[in-house]
């Protein structure tokens, strides 16, 4: 089923680019989604620093080559290639190059693999990469990589698509994510990860002011369902820790975080879960290194950026806070955190954007209050009346 070269090269940092979807009409998400999933699986390898496909999107959009993307993201090697689906079967062709000089690190034309479905493809690619990077896996790491989170390949694809939809926090995209996770659960009612991500979508809808309190209750219910089905799903604990912020249970969040820490996992959700619990209980200094590790894997994740800038600001690390705030794509987060840093210019620019763009009264009100202090009330009143 798999043909790969047998000359491992020790690599300590790796960028996995979105695999190019070759033929399927519905597979825009396929290449990006599988790259994200492979990155998540490989995060079980402690000695390998990973950078996600999402991190490279902005660089690739400028027409940069894979080698250039690798150089700019400061990784030793880059994996890129294509994915083709024929019915349920999946064919992957991939190549690994060294960022420094573009040298091909895999002999025999790279990795060529055919799997019976997306689920199997993800596991096979991840284990093949680990083997060819000279990473010795323990039995439990190999077991984690080969684990199938659901018996339904179709449900798995819905999960992958839902997670991509959840990256954008607009009403339409959140509703799409919710629908996709629900469909995945219909196909496999024991799919713990789908319940966990449904909980995340529900909570996001509540916290964005798009749904009422029932969305928060659903989020709580779905996170608990996920953990009953599989206590090892970090996304479910992350969802719980976030929900606990709105239920007065921040301390319980620390207990959830302790369970995640004990698992030893270092994927984005695990790192974020522990960091979030510390941040919500007044320990931003402890959350900073965890958020930095998570952002090294997924630098384009706006949620992580927001949490890191808040943590830096609250911990008095103003240079770090400013550095992160300057790259924020969320006007509300940038405004709030720049306010903590006392940077009037960033506060004013973003508060105006919040008042123009948000229909949710909470961010609007905070922008109003902030502008009151930063003395641009004439413009604020004009926007308010508009």
């Amino acid at each position: 089923m798999t043909r790969v070269s047998h000359s491992p090269t020790v690599v300590r940092s790796l960028l996995i680019l979105p695999l190019e979807s070759v033929n399927s009409a519905d597979s825009d998400y396929l290449g990006e989604g599988i790259s994200e999933q492979i990155t998540a699986k490989l995060s079980a390898v402690p000695s390998l620093r990973l950078t996600s496909a999402a991190a490279a999107q902005r660089i690739l959009a400028t027409g940069a080559s894979p080698q250039e993307a690798g150089r700019r993201l400061n990784v030793e090697a880059v994996l890129f290639g294509s994915i083709r689906r024929i019915d349920r079967r999946v064919r992957v062709n991939a190549q690994l190059i060294r960022s420094e000089d573009g040298q091909v690190l895999w002999a025999e034309g790279g990795l060529h693999l055919e799997a019976r479905d997306l689920l199997e493809a993800e596991s096979l690619v991840a284990t093949a990469i680990a083997a060819h990077l000279g990473q010795a896996l323990t039995a439990s790491e190999r077991g984690a990589m080969m684990r199938r989170p659901t018996s339904s390949a179709e449900a798995f694809e819905l999960l992958v698509r839902g997670k991509l939809a959840l990256r954008s926090r607009t009403d339409v995209r959140l509703s799409l994510a919710e629908k996709l996770f629900q469909e995945a659960i219909q196909l496999d009612p024991k799919f713990a990860e789908a319940f966990a991500w449904l909980a995340m979508a529900n909570y996001e809808q509540f916290s964005q002011g798009l749904r009422g309190d029932e969305a928060k209750r659903k989020a709580l219910e779905n996170a608990h369902k996920a953990l009953r089905l599989d206590p090892s799903v970090a996304a479910a604990r992350l969802a719980l820790i976030r929900i606990f912020h709105s239920t007065g249970q921040a301390e319980e969040g620390l207990r959830e975080a302790a369970i995640v820490s004990r698992s030893g996992m270092a994927d984005v959700e695990s790192l974020w879960a522990v960091a979030e619990a510390y941040l919500r209980t007044g320990m931003p200094d402890r959350s900073i290194p965890l958020l930095q590790r998570a952002m090294a894997i997924d630098p384009e994740n706006e949620n992580l950026r927001s949490r890191l800038s808040a943590a830096a600001c609250w911990a008095g690390q103003y240079n770090l806070g400013l550095q992160v705030v300057n790259t924020s794509t969320s006007s509300f987060n940038a405004m709030l955190n720049a306010s903590g840093l006392g940077n009037a210019e960033i506060v004013r620019a973003n508060a105006m954007r919040v008042m123009r763009d948000y229909r949710d009264p909470f961010p609007f009100a905070i922008a109003w209050l902030v502008l009151r202090e930063y003395s641009d009330m004439g413009e604020a009143r004009r926007i308010w009346r508009a």
């Binding site: 509540f206 009422g212 007044g282 905070i366």
Partner: protein, 119 residues
């Protein structure tokens, strides 16, 4: 915005409206706080922001009582309280040196120190 918020039983949205009314000195802020607390009566997040709304309206006794309730029920985001103390536009700024507010801040700091030792 008010019409949209009325369709939702979302305490966060209600608090947003309450803050806006409070900033304008409009007593409709009280109604919005009441509605927010009806959705989730014991929520420390809501109680904390309710405290700011009361502060904006100059209702200092209610502001301090609500802040105390928030702290007693698990509010730990001490930095939000510090932001209030540092920025003159915020509802609790004028209470920044009030002995009760300082005692609540100490209560939060002690609780956080305890959690640091445990976790």
């Amino acid at each position: 915005m008010e019409e949209d918020a009325a369709k939702l039983a979302n305490e966060r949205t209600r608090i947003g409206l309450a803050l806006l009314y409070g900033a304008l000195g409009d007593r409709k802020a009280y109604d919005q706080v009441r509605l927010a607390l009806e959705v989730n009566p014991a929520d420390p997040w809501t109680l904390f922001w309710a405290s700011e709304v009361y502060g904006l309206l100059g209702d200092d006794e209610k502001a301090l009582a609500s802040l105390q309730q928030a702290a007693d029920r698990g509010f730990l985001s001490i930095f939000y309280l510090d932001l209030q103390r540092e920025h003159s536009s915020r509802g609790l700024y004028h209470l920044r040196n009030h002995p009760r507010l300082l005692a609540i801040r100490t209560q939060l700091a002690n609780r956080i120190d305890h959690l640091r030792r445990v976790y």
